[in-house]
Subunit: 137 residues, 2 copies
Amino acid sequence: MDELDRQILSILRRDARTPYTEIADRVGTSEGTVRNRVESLVEDGIIERFTVATSTGNVKSMIEVSVDVNVDTGAVADRFIEWKEVDSVWQVSGDEDLVMVVDAADTERINELITRARELDEVVSTKTRLILDERLG
Amino acid sequence: MDELDRQILSILRRDARTPYTEIADRVGTSEGTVRNRVESLVEDGIIERFTVATSTGNVKSMIEVSVDVNVDTGAVADRFIEWKEVDSVWQVSGDEDLVMVVDAADTERINELITRARELDEVVSTKTRLILDERLG
DNA sequence: TATGAAAGACTAACTAA
DNA sequence: TTAGTTAGTCTTTCATA
């Protein structure tokens, strides 16, 4: 992870479809080098995946979840990530154990997700924050 | 946003470099249709950007920030998003006003970011959660 | 939806550090 | 031995009918 890798990453973060030739021009190297670097970044797990940032719904929110102490938090995370509105699930330190980031059609749908989470025996409590605005780095 | 769009999106979320021809095969349509659909999804803002999910550092965390009632929260968000370890900044409802998701080299660096945030006059308090594990949808 | 042209990515052989 | 370059080939995308 040297300066060249960082430059390539920052271009890809903003637009992952930028051609290798253009990246090469912008960072002052050859197409082949960029390709090799990207390949290594993928192999080393620094690039986890090529993806699309989407906003399929109208309401994004963070649902913070406390799970029972006797329960495998990872297993609960695995269930949540299967729900189609759920973008990501984090196990976190702090008052709650899990944070899920969801992107739903409307607040009613958010409410359904919260209800669904609270219906699980493993879930002790939830706390929801609406995401009012998002900036991407 | 019909079922076909949703299928295309779910393929792109997992691998945004999947060729249109392959997507077409998998969803049972033509390459041209997939291309037009993706183009429309971008135009309609449903696909916000093509990007890479990265883990450049070893420690991810969420830094929750309360800002002074008299200041423009968006302006503070704009400052945070410029910091290179910051992946995203959300304005949220709830006890705090902003949540920034950061991906740093180590906990020491996280601590520097927290300190830097707290040094701003606009910032009243911060609360940090380490992200111990992440699942992507 | 089919097809050809253009753009981009990949292979492999080569060079330099 | 590893990283970078380059020319030739193959694949994907794009525009047209």
